[in-house]
């Protein structure tokens, strides 16, 4: 996919991922590769293993088999063989945005980001936090506790958290869930900007109406495996039909 799009080396290359929880095979032989600026939307019903896929890509879960490889723009590194956990270099390359904020409600926006900046060993944690807040337009609320934020503001702050260390791969797990229309529109604009910065993105969602326009590539995941994968070549209606067909086949 990557080579067909731009000829550049793949930023994210995934081969043969498998993961099981007890008797459930959450991932079965998943593979794809994405170049800079490319984004993959993975659609699938609940329980298809989408979140597992994202957590493996993020380095939160070890796959039973398969590899997640980071290459491209910033040189090699972050090779994660199945036998070993992902290393720190891997973790510096990815940012995760999920419908959970991963933030501490009892801390202020600035404190949350400064804390994560320290974990990423950024040079000046406070300055990095301030820059990230400016990036999502929250600089005025830096001193307020997250518990006072609206859902949309929390999500913007979560994005600032994910972008703190300037990752070149962004992983999005149902980022629109629980957002009202205005917040969703803000988020969509923000994600569009991130894509124009040529970051590589993987987005998973069960709602095909969200995120299709952000994607250059589309996969449909059913029962742990990709039922289809390819460059986006249809409109919303076409993908709705394909999605219905793929999920119906599974029963």
């Amino acid at each position: 996919m990557a080579s067909s799009a731009s000829g550049a080396a793949a930023v994210l290359e995934v081969t043969g991922l498998a993961k099981r929880f007890g008797h459930v095979r959450a991932l079965r032989g998943i593979g794809f590769s994405l170049g800079p600026g490319e984004s993959l939307a993975v659609f699938g019903p609940n329980g298809a293993g989408k979140t597992t896929l994202l957590r493996v890509l993020a380095g939160l879960l070890k796959p039973d088999a398969g590899t997640v490889r980071f290459g491209g723009a910033r040189g090699d590194g972050g090779v994660a063989p199945a036998s070993r956990g992902p290393d720190a270099a891997h973790r510096r390359r990815v940012g995760l945005i999920s419908h959970y904020s991963l933030l501490y409600d009892g801390l202020t926006a600035g404190e949350n980001l400064a804390f994560y900046a320290r974990l990423y060993a950024l040079a000046e944690p406070r300055a990095a936090a301030r820059r990230a807040l400016e990036g999502v337009g929250l600089e005025a609320r830096a001193g307020d506790p997250v518990s006072t934020f609206s859902r949309g503001m929390v999500q913007r702050l979560a994005i600032a958290r994910a972008l703190l260390h300037d990752p070149d791969v962004l992983l999005l797990d149902e980022p629109f869930s629980g957002l009202d229309q205005r917040a969703a529109a803000t988020l969509r604009a923000l994600l569009g900007r991130l894509r124009s910065e040529r970051r590589t993105m993987v987005l998973v969602t069960h709602n095909i109406d969200e995120g299709l326009e952000l994607a250059t590539h589309v996969a449909i995941q059913v029962a742990g495996a990709f039922a289809s994968l390819g460059a986006r070549d249809g409109d919303l209606a076409a993908y709705r039909a394909r999605y219905a067909e793929a999920t119906a086949r599974d029963g």
Binding site: G59, L61, K62, L96, L102, L103, G106, Y116, R118, A121
Partner: protein
């Protein structure tokens, strides 16, 4: 190593800041401690048991229970908004996470103990000042022992059903060595016995600390999702 310690410190400082903001766990641990000290003293038959005989056991039962109950907080606060994912996503090592959590718990339990100790001296009428140095050493060693094991166990207990009860079930068997050695040493300190008489207990407690700090740090990563 320097980076691990810096990350551990960042995590501990964050935990303590959160606790300082809400103070819920700290205050409830303090109230619990004061209640237990008062009830033990009130329930004691003054003609049958002198308070000095009872004091070391009461002190250690109070400290260890208050400590263990407070440990739920350490990983409990990471469950909210799945903040634990944020920690695990970051390049911070698992060792740093464990050390940071343990450090925050040590400060937390140490602060409870620092306030409870004068209260204890008051209720049980034991003169603390003359034995304060060795007593603090004993308290520090025993606290390191049960807080290290407790921190590891709380990382598992938060992901089980009935997590708070589970933490007690998991940790209590491990309290035998730190708590009973500490109680024995405390009793000898109150009775002004020579150091040689409690040195074997001190050695055992120190060995326990070393063994469990090392082992808990090694196995901690297996308590995390993978």
């Amino acid at each position: 190593m320097g980076e691990v310690l810096a990350q551990a410190w960042a995590i501990a400082a964050k935990d303590l800041l959160l606790e300082f903001r809400s103070r819920t766990a700290f205050l409830s641990a303090l109230v619990f401690t004061a209640l237990v000290l008062a009830i033990f003293n009130f329930a004691r038959d003054p003609t049958a048991v002198s308070s000095v005989d009872l004091a070391p056991s009461v002190l250690w039962i109070t400290f260890s229970f208050a400590g263990v109950l407070g440990l739920n907080r350490a990983f409990g606060l990471e469950k909210e908004n799945r903040a634990i994912d944020g920690l695990l996503l970051s390049p911070a090592s698992r060792t740093a996470l464990f050390l940071g959590k343990t450090l925050a718990n040590l400060v937390f339990v140490g602060a409870v103990e620092a306030i409870a100790l004068p209260l204890f001296a008051l209720f049980f009428n034991v003169p603390l000042l003359e034995i304060l140095g060795p007593l603090v050493l004993v308290i520090a060693l025993a606290t390191v022992g049960f807080v290290t094991v407790g921190t590891l166990m709380s990382s598992m207990a938060v992901n089980t059903r009935f997590g708070e009860m589970m933490l007690l079930v998991l940790v209590l068997p491990f309290l035998l060595t730190p708590v009973s050695t500490a109680a024995e040493m405390t009793a000898r300190l109150f009775a002004h016995r020579p150091f040689a008489e409690w040195a074997p207990w001190l050695k055992l407690l120190a060995a326990y600390d070393i063994a469990f700090v090392v082992l808990c740090t090694l196995v901690f990563e297996f308590t995390l999702e993978e």
